[in-house]
Assembly symmetry: C2
Homo-oligomer: 355 residues x 2
């Protein structure tokens, strides 16, 4: 089983062709011809080192997300930001709100942090329970809470009012709060709902630019931090020139492509509803409501591994979600893509599971 | 003063135009049209995550450098390899052979390693002195020695016979040896002179692909390691997908461009001699013999900062080398580029210093 989605290379090496990768959650609009042309024109810049301060890129991010450049740190994918934060903070004991993305654990284990888990319960449809969280934190001495919002793999989203309460609870106990907002650009009206609005020194926010702009191969993420001291420590620890110039140029260009952004917002609004509506027609599935561009599903009469293997014969790769903490061998995660592809996936699922 | 060369961005923000960047040591042949065309054709691959195992890239590196794929780890620039090695090894006490590249210190300080220095002496023309090294190591308890070969900034090169002896001394004392060979591709017949030929478990070798192939903005480096256990620990600690797909594709493509490689070897052989010969004509300079694509120079009647400032008025940026350990305010480092540019730099130096 793969640790992450999106590894079609392994399948190909095993002689299996994959036409539709539903294991990784990338905007199906893909890379535009305009971006390609822009990159070609500017590729000579790769003969120079990148700007070690990434001023232009940070300015564009600040402008787009209505932030100050001083609160932004850019990274070689969100992964660098995560690892750098953990390496800098070196928390002794960390609470993960789980199920969640597996890289948190790797970053924490690298720093010998003890890991506790707060379970998002299946019987509560993986909704965050503030009361239980409060009493959990009361009982345990913790340095850091890591929260993925919107949650990967469940697709649930915690509203800003609740984030505010979580942050307040953390603050009174001197706990730092790390919020992974890698998928937040797919949430409707996220501009009014994201944690950066709180400008809270206690909170560190991780973002990715490569999912919404369909360029995970280019690696580009950033962090938002209102704690000057922490940010300066992170910058001291950071590897120089970690963001590749092509990633930098692509970020700058795409944040200005209003047409792409509007088209993406329209697509996800429409297709999220459609895919959910079609999937719930299949009585062999329990489909969890999602706020983003992927859907968590429980297979009622089949294992995720079996379905995954069967669908590979249709040249479709899905994410076997059984290795997420607190999930089991019946969970899969599906990306949401364009209508035609979604229909092919629906057809394949219905064929193998019955409907 | 800049910590590194190549930061023309800062100059530009200060309203100063730089036409010739002699502060960073990049192959003047630059990025080829063939590479650009190849990247354009394959840019859609950026819509996918990179192969987390980088099999194709590691295979090409192995083939080109006559290594085994199992001994290769790739990184987001050589910088990632350096930081990852230090983060994994966590040496308590490290000996730097200095003057040397400043990033070693940053990586070591991040891990609270105590740092000792073994001085390459100006009066010995910065040549490595094996006897002094041996007695230094006898007297001090050290976990790790970091050696830059060819040395940046001095341009001197330690022959393989001596490296073998250094490694033997280290081995008897249980000291690891990290050799930075970022510039070795510019050394004549490096194929017969590099440390990978020793296949020594004790030695870790860092390489860069972006200096020789003129793509520092793309960030691509690798490590060579014959210690399976260490390599597996490094892979566990490594950030997933750290090498961007454009860097990966460029590495694969350029390692197969025999014409570019031959042209580069011919250029450096010729131009190294020419630039040296012309520079030593100026009696106000002490020019150190170099084995690579940059030259260390001592200004006999001027400070490096003054000359740097003056040459900026000619739109030339040189490296003020005074912040290298054991150097002083009279040292500069010059890149070696194409004949026309080298002549412009010579003219500017002679104008400002007299000849």
């Amino acid at each position: 089983m793969d640790l992450h989605g999106g590894n079609t290379y392994k399948q190909e090496r095993e002689g299996k062709n994959i036409k539709l990768d539903y294991s990784s959650n990338i905007n199906p609009l893909g890379i535009t011809e305009e971006l390609k042309n822009f990159l070609i024109k500017n590729l000579n810049l790769a003969e120079k080192y990148p700007d070690p301060d990434y001023i232009k890129l940070r300015k564009e991010i600040a402008k787009f997300y209505k932030l100050s450049i001083d609160n932004i740190i850019v990274g070689n994918g969100a992964t660098e930001i995560l690892f750098l934060y953990i390496n800098t903070l070196k928390p002794k004991k960390t609470l993960l709100i789980a199920p969640c993305f597996s890289e948190y654990e790797r970053a924490l284990k690298n720093n010998d942090s003890e890991i506790l888990y707060f379970e998002l319960k299946e019987e509560e449809n993986f909704k965050f329970n503030l009361e239980s969280f409060n009493s959990f934190v009361e009982k345990n001495q913790i340095d850091l809470v890591i929260l993925c919002n919107p949650n990967n793999p469940t697709g649930t989203f915690i509203e800003l009012e609740t984030i505010k309460k979580i942050s307040k609870i953390c603050k009174t106990k001197n706990i730092k709060l790390f919020i992974d907002e890698a998928f937040i650009d797919f949430v409707e009206n996220y501009e009014l709902k994201n944690a950066s609005l709180l400008k809270d020194e206690n909170i560190f926010i991780m973002r990715a630019l490569t999912k919404f702009f369909a360029m995970p191969g280019l690696r580009l993420g950033f962090g938002i931090c209102f704690d000057k001291n922490l940010l300066s420590n992170m910058n001291f620890k950071k590897e120089t020139w970690s963001v590749n110039i092509v990633a930098e140029l692509s970020g700058i260009f795409m944040l200005n492509d209003k047409n792409y952004i509007t088209k993406t917002k329209n697509w996800i609004k429409e297709e999220k509803k459609y895919f959910y509506r079609e999937l719930i027609k299949n009585k062999n599935l329990k489909v969890y409501k999602t706020e983003v561009n992927f859907i968590l599903i429980k297979l009622l009469n089949e294992t995720s591994n079996n379905l995954r293997e069967k669908m590979i014969s249709d040249e479709i790769l899905i994410r076997d979600a059984s290795n997420f903490k607190f999930l089991n061998e019946h969970f899969i995660r599906l990306a949401i893509k364009d209508r035609r592809s979604n229909d092919l996936v629906l057809k394949s699922i219905n064929k193998f599971l019955g409907s």
